[in-house]
């Protein structure tokens, strides 16, 4: 591609960034001694992690009864938040792996942050099944391990599929993430001093930037990208089968897998926007994360929002078309029942608000995108809440219908999970280059003959 083409597609950073050393300087500056703002945020996140762990240990000590769960609503905020975080985890891999394979050049500036987001989101999501079960000390029974009693997990249960899906996804995305950072870690190593240098020396695995290394690196990267790509689709499909495989009216539907994958990408991209906007601001990365990048992400949101909205409408239509009273009752209850407000929050945030993205001016306004992305985050959390809670509260037996209200502990864990995520993300911004240095260099004009290369990278 020519430079003109790349500029056209929004791949390029600001034209002022013309030299490799500029990239190194600007990105690695982020890794310098943190400022006051970072410390405040980090303290808040650490406090939130404290809240998270305290709530969880209190729950383990007292019993899962400290949640608001009951019969018939046996799954609530925990599983909602689990699905929310799994969904968030999707855009990272989508942006880094799928867009890499499709050679979408605008990904370079954001993929590192979104990959980090993926890893941390899976780390967060993976805790929720543990938080949720009644006897967490026996949760390892879901893992097939050899034992003297020949007891195996039930491979027909979608929850066991979940174990595989989540662990696989975590492993692959973590490896993919780490692999991609190695050249940049070497760059950081070359800049760092003292203890920090030691740290980067170890984790950069002795990267020297030789031709041979680059050759192997890019092969490994492309294979891992190919491996991660199907996972983007499979993980959330499996998560959706937790519901779709059950016979609960409102869950039992074939549309769930594509619907959930689209929703996951929708929410994931939205969170990337939510995180990228302040990151860009605080770390002065305006030259690297340009409006073009944001516009590209906004377009992805437009697409996935449309798919999700279509899925909602399909669900309503099919519930009516099925003629089955439990199915119809379930959806009637969703829209007009006790939890109508949750459903309308979902429809507004995921269906109506993103309609604004069809306006080019909105798509190109960072502030507007930031606000809309927060709406989408809220809406996607409520989407899962609606699916889980309203369906369970209104199943087959009218006598057994019931209501659920989240407890303080559940709220503590929900808020704490954001802090937990933020905790890792903040550490990431200080320890690893948040923008891919090497890949940025690929898209700026190559240095002219005669200039001195300063760095190995």
């Amino acid at each position: 591609m020519t430079t003109a083409e790349l500029t056209q597609r929004g791949a390029l950073p600001n034209p002022d960034v013309g030299k490799y050393e500029d990239v190194n300087r600007d990105v690695l500056k982020v890794l310098s001694r943190p400022g006051k703002g970072w410390w405040i945020l980090f303290t808040m996140a650490a406090a939130g992690v404290g809240l998270f762990l305290t709530s969880w240990f209190y729950q383990i000590y007292k019993g899962i009864g400290v949640s608001g769960l009951n019969a018939p609503v046996g799954w609530g905020v925990y599983i909602t938040t689990f699905v929310f975080w799994v969904g968030i985890a999707h855009s990272g891999t989508l942006i880094s792996a799928i867009l890499f394979l499709f050679r979408a050049p605008w990904r370079q500036a954001i993929y590192r942050a979104s990959e980090a987001m993926t890893v941390f989101a899976v780390m967060t999501a993976g805790l929720f099944p543990l938080i949720h079960v009644g006897r967490v000390w026996h949760a390892y029974w879901l893992v097939p391990y050899p034992n003297s009693r020949f007891l195996w997990p039930n491979f027909r249960s979608p929850l066991v599929w979940d174990v595989f899906a989540i662990t696989t996804y975590f492993t692959v995305s973590a490896v993919f993430f780490y692999l991609g950072t190695i050249p940049d870690l070497a760059a950081a190593r070359d800049h760092a001093r003292g203890l920090r240098k030691k740290f980067y020396q170890i984790i950069s695995l002795g990267w020297r930037g030789t031709d041979r290394e680059w050759h192997h690196f890019s092969k490994a990267y492309i294979y891992l990208a190919a491996l991660a790509t199907p996972l983007v689709l499979s993980v959330h499909s499996v998560v959706s089968w937790d519901f779709a495989m059950a016979i609960v009216p409102g869950w039992h539907t074939t549309i769930f897998a594509p619907y959930f994958v689209a929703g996951a990408i929708f929410s994931g991209v939205a969170l990337v926007i939510t995180l990228a906007v302040p990151m860009r601001k605080f770390f002065g990365l305006e030259d690297y994360l340009t409006v073009k990048h944001f516009e590209a992400m906004a377009k992805l949101c437009m697409l996935t929002s449309a798919i999700v909205l279509y899925a909602y409408m399909t669900e309503y239509f099919l519930a009516w078309y099925s003629g089955e009273p439990p199915e119809r009752g379930s959806f009637w209850n969703r829209v007009f029942g006790h939890y109508w407000w949750a459903n309308w929050i979902m429809l507004t945030c995921n269906g109506l608000v993103p309609l604004m993205l069809w306006v080019r001016r909105v798509r190109r306004s960072i502030a507007a995108l930031f606000v809309i992305s927060i709406f989408i985050n809220i809406g996607m959390w409520f989407e899962r809440y609606v699916i889980i809670v309203t369906s369970l509260s209104h199943e087959y037996e009218p006598w057994a219908w019931g209501l659920y209200r989240p407890s303080v502990v559940e709220m503590g864990i929900l808020i704490g999970s954001f802090a937990w995520f933020g905790f890792w993300f903040l550490l990431f911004t200080r320890l690893l280059p948040p923008v891919a240095i090497a890949e940025m260099k690929e898209v700026i004009p190559p240095p002219r003959r005669g200039r001195v290369k300063e760095d190995a990278a």
């Binding site: 899962i64 009951n70 019969a71 799954w75 059950a246 087959y396 006598w399």
Partner: protein, 1007 residues
């Protein structure tokens, strides 16, 4: 049913020798530790249950029970199928006697009130004080509850000997009925009703299925009269302002104004007289009452009363009542009118019998009021209270508390302190009925004995009151001819046999008879009581006008006994507190029932807390809107609002007695429960009702379909409907590429294709259940029995409000037709819902660790120890019968010694695991092991689940459905059989329901 039970040769009901010895104190060791014994007592084999036949002491009904004991501890109460009155049934209150036995609030030792409250003393000191007071304190007042004939007789002779007066107080007073019988037939006794012999039954508000006289026995009779499986289905009409549980079982409801019973009964009798019937000396009186006027007075349509008269004329009719709503200031008149109606309808001698045997154990509120006056007047030096709680169950307006406080010395015999005994100067811990001897004559021709099922619970140093009084009598120099009450009872038994044995057909050795009596629990004999065959002329003037109501306000207050707590005596039992009220489905707290139209008029909805004010007081209670109550009535159940009863009862709900004035029926002296109007005002507060009710509307799911009587017999079309539905499912699934499993068959379908591995075979038994909804009265005894058998904890009000009650069984109640605005059919459906043990269970494939799995004999099993607690199974259970241990309920809620009641055969579940109905797998295994040892198959009827073994209406069948001769297989192939939701989702449950049969046309809606 009794056939099945007769074969239960394993049932080692231990007889006289050991039981008698147990009380004498030389057989069983103290039962503080379970095992091991160095020298095991003779009748106890560790691990094997010992059963004692006895008589329930929870109300005056006198039902036969069997108490299951393990290692010397009573663990379960079931109905005694050999008992001629209760016929194998027992109610929730009866089962919950176990919780009174192990009540942590029982009195631990004799206590004397001192300056710092009660102080414990020894029995010797207590006896010295008692003897001293009785001997020197002047006249004594003995205020007792109703006792058995022998104990009552003993008490009377004791009171005579020491000088004093005995007054019987029972808040569920039936003196109006006795008095009316006295007026009409000349004998102070209760009529005996033969409901099973009637084909047309009218209840004037008598709650004969929940609280009236002998509910368990009536429920069995009613099942015989009303259940279509007995042949012709009788018809039942309920006349009254509020549909109680009994009313909910009616086919028609005439929502008559409270107090109008006499007018309706007399008018119908008058109509019968006009058509040629004879009402003896009351013919003229009846003829003077017209239907139009009565309908006007009752606020109902005259047509409905004409129809009533038609049916009285046509069939073998029986009128019952009146019940709680008839306890007003002309209660005797109302009772008399119903007796006249029965006579005019020719029921006397056919469905209603009057025995010429006055009942000694009866007195009315008037006598209690008289005693209160005498107490205030200083007539008595000693006041003794035993087995009754007037400080709670009488309206404060009666002045009992003040009068009792004035008594110079107050003695209370009490198992646990209550509002009355807490005022006493001397409290003597009484033995619980399950620890003591007594007897009952629940019906003429039946003698029933109560024997101790275990030694007194060692934590409490209790002694039976009769034994204490015998000892006191001895010290006072009165000899009653027996060293202990056991001997007294035995003596009375032998003396009666010597006198009447020959004529009653009970000749022979009295000792052998006594042993046999202890083995079977009761004996039937030829009843020699003469019968009265005709009405006699009234001796007392009776006023048939509508009763007076005092107070302002536009709503009549209807105070009714609680089906769970009676008059409140059973209110300290967590099983009953957490048992959903059969009508409102509310647990723990009180509620005020009012018609939805009334609530709307007052701007109220369910859960709004209102204050209900009469001239006598105010209570604050949440509203529950109920379509089965007249618009001019607000109803409150007795039993709530205890202040000094026990840790579970105190503070729950309100006591409606606080609202009542001291109004009585002048003729009988009974306390009027419907005597005042009240004003209802919103307080602005709202609370979530602690209720199990999600929705009482089936919402087109048809989980409990019914079939009209007229459609019965050609209901094969319905079966086709169900099959069609399955065919549709199959077609759809085949379209999707699946080969669905077969659906129509019963045993043949099990095990399903694909489960052919492992031990699944087609040879062994396949356990299944059938529940006849046509006979289920919705009483909820099954729930309590299940809770007792399976160590199910209670969760408390807060948790239950969140929807976390742990019952493995629940009673769903759906309204189909309920309209208080005019007379007409009423159709309320009950659905006992328990784990359906689906062949094709949705819960099983989703469990990640195989905690939910299917056993080879068709049980849907739950391995508690394997459960991780994902709750996926509960989400996927369409019946919502799985319950979760959100906390360590068992450990945290159940205090010593209530945990003594635990069934050692059933695991106690801990925090974080799912549980559900097991079909009483411990009983299945027990029967299976026994059969294996004896080298045979398990017989049909040999396994009886806990719910089945208490059901008063004998609704439940359990057995091997693969055996086509079995009762359950027969029920499952009945034309009324259906399986809940099966047509929707192909779960293939093992529980079959038999549709309710209605007299009116219904939409049978096979899906």
């Amino acid at each position: 049913m009794s056939d099945g039970f007769a074969r239960r040769d394993f049932l080692k009901v231990v007889g006289a020798g050991s039981a008698g010895a147990a009380v004498a104190g030389c057989a069983t060791e103290k039962v503080e530790r379970l095992i091991p014994y160095v020298t095991p007592p003779e009748e106890i084999t560790p691990g094997v249950a010992t059963w004692y036949a006895s008589t329930c002491g929870e109300c005056a009904g006198g039902c036969g029970i069997r108490v299951r004991t393990r290692e010397g501890r009573a663990v379960m109460i079931e109905g005694n199928p050999d008992h001629p009155v209760s016929r194998g049934g027992v109610c929730s209150r009866g089962v919950s006697a176990l919780q009174a036995l192990y009540d942590p609030d029982r009195v631990a030792a004799p206590m004397r009130s001192g300056p710092n409250g009660f102080e414990e003393i020894t029995w010797d000191e207590a006896l010295d004080i008692l003897v001293d007071r009785l001997g020197t304190g002047g006249r004594s007042l003995f205020l007792t509850g109703r006792k058995g004939p022998t104990e009552g007789g003993f008490l009377d002779s004791f009171v005579d000997a020491v000088g004093g007066r005995r007054v019987i107080h029972d808040a569920l007073d039936d003196s109006a009925l006795r008095r009316a019988t006295d007026i009409a037939f000349g004998v102070n006794a209760l009529p005996r009703y033969d409901i099973a012999a009637a084909d047309f039954l009218v209840s004037f508000g008598a709650d004969f299925l929940d609280t009236w006289l002998s509910p368990v026995s009536f429920a069995a009779d009613f099942a015989g009269m009303h259940g279509v499986d007995h042949g012709a289905k009788g018809k039942f009409v309920f006349v009254g302002p509020r549909l109680s549980l009994t009313g909910q079982n009616a086919d028609e409801w005439i929502p008559a104004r409270a107090g109008s019973e006499a007018r309706i009964a007399l008018a119908v009798a008058g109509e019968l007289v006009r058509r040629g019937a004879d009402a003896g000396p009351y013919t003229e009186l009846a003829a003077g009452h017209g239907l139009e006027e009565a309908a006007e007075a009752a606020g109902v349509e005259a047509d409905a009363l004409v129809a009533l008269a038609d049916q009285f004329e046509a069939g073998t009719a029986l009128a019952l009542g009146p019940g709680a709503a008839g306890h007003h200031q002309t209660a005797t008149a109302a009772n008399l009118a119903v007796l006249i109606l029965n006579a005019a309808a020719g029921s006397l001698g056919r469905t209603m019998h009057i025995d010429d045997a006055p009942d000694a154990e009866a007195s009315s509120y008037a006598e209690v009021a008289d005693a209160i006056r005498e107490m205030s007047g200083g007539v008595y030096g000693v006041a003794v209270v035993a087995g009754t709680n007037p400080a709670y169950s009488l309206p404060p307006a009666s002045g009992f508390r003040d009068a009792f406080a004035l008594a110079p010395f107050k003695v209370a015999f009490a198992t646990a302190l209550d509002e009355t005994s807490v005022m006493a100067d001397l409290v003597l811990p009484d033995a619980h009925p399950l620890e003591s001897w007594a007897d009952a004559i629940p019906a003429p021709g039946t003698y029933s004995v109560r024997q101790p099922a275990m030694r007194p619970v060692p934590a409490y140093d209790s002694r039976p009151m009769s034994d204490v009084l015998l000892e006191a009598g001895r010290q006072l120099g009165h000899d009653f001819g027996a060293p202990s009450f056991h001997d007294y009872l035995r003596g009375a038994h032998d003396a009666w046999l010597a006198l009447n044995g020959e004529a009653a057909g009970l000749a022979g050795d009295p000792s052998a008879r006594w042993r046999e009596l202890l083995r079977t629990g009761s004996v039937s004999y030829t009843d020699l009581t003469p019968k009265i065959a005709a009405l006699q002329a009234p001796t007392t003037a009776v006023d048939f006008r509508l009763p007076r109501l005092s107070g302002d306000g536009d709503l009549t207050l209807l105070v009714h006994p609680s089906p769970r707590f009676g008059d409140g005596a059973h209110a300290n039992r967590p099983w009953l507190l957490e048992l959903p009220d059969p009508v409102s489905k509310v647990m723990w707290h009180s509620w005020a029932e009012m018609n939805p139209a009334t609530a709307e008029r007052l701007g109220l909805r369910s859960g709004d807390v209102v204050s209900i004010t009469s001239a006598n007081g105010t209570v604050e209670v949440p509203v529950w809107a109920y379509p089965g109550i007249r618009e001019d009535v607000v109803a409150l159940a007795m039993g709530g609002g205890h202040t000094d009863y026990g840790r579970f009862a105190n503070g729950n709900g309100v006591n409606p007695m606080e609202l009542l004035p001291e109004a009585t029926d002048a003729v009988s002296g009974t306390l009027a429960l419907v005597s005042t109007r009240v004003t209802v005002t919103a307080t602005g507060a709202w609370r979530r009702l602690t209720s199990t009710e999600g929705s009482s509307d089936q919402d087109d799911r048809n989980v409990t379909p019914a079939v009209a009587l007229s459609a019965l017999g050609h209901a094969a079309e319905d079966a086709h409907d169900a099959e069609d539905a399955h065919d549709q499912i199959r077609e759809l699934q085949e379209g999707g590429g699946f080969r669905p499993v077969a659906t129509e068959g019963l045993a043949e379908d099990f095990p399903l294709p694909g489960s052919d591995f492992g031990e699944y075979d087609r040879e062994g038994p396949r356990w299944a259940m059938a529940i006849d909804l046509d006979k289920c009265t919705g009483c909820g005894a099954c729930i309590t029995a299940c809770q007792a058998e399976n160590n199910i904890p209670w969760v408390g009000e807060v948790q239950a409000t969140m929807g976390r009650e742990m019952h493995w069984m629940r009673l769903e109640r759906y309204y189909e037709t309920v309209d208080a605005s005019h007379s007409g059919p009423v159709d309320i459906r009950f659905l006992p819902m328990l784990c359906q043990h689906c062949n094709n269970a949705p819960c099983e494939p989703v469990c990640p660790v195989f905690a939910a799995y299917h056993t080879p004999d068709g049980l849907n099993a739950q391995a508690y120890n394997r459960c991780v607690g994902t709750r996926y199974c509960a989400n996927n259970c369409p019946y919502k019968v799985r319950v979760f241990n959100w906390y360590r309920y068992t450990r945290e809620n159940i205090p010593e010694p209530m945990n003594w009641q635990f069934n050692p055969d059933v695991t106690v579940r801990d925090n974080g695991v799912m549980e559900k109905c097991t079909f009483c797998v411990q009983r299945i295994r027990e029967a299976g092991n026994r059969a294996a040892v004896e080298g045979r198959d398990v017989r049909d009827g040999e396994v009886r689940t806990a719910c089945q073994s208490v059901c008063p209406a004998d609704v439940i069948r359990f057995g091997n459905i693969r055996d086509h001769e079995s009762q359950v297989a027969a029920a499952a192939t009945d034309e009324r059989a259906y399986r809940v939701l099966d047509a929707f989702i192909n779960t293939q449950p093992a529980v079959h329901y038999l549709k309710k049969v209605t007299h009116h046309e219904v939409d049978d809606g096979g899906h």
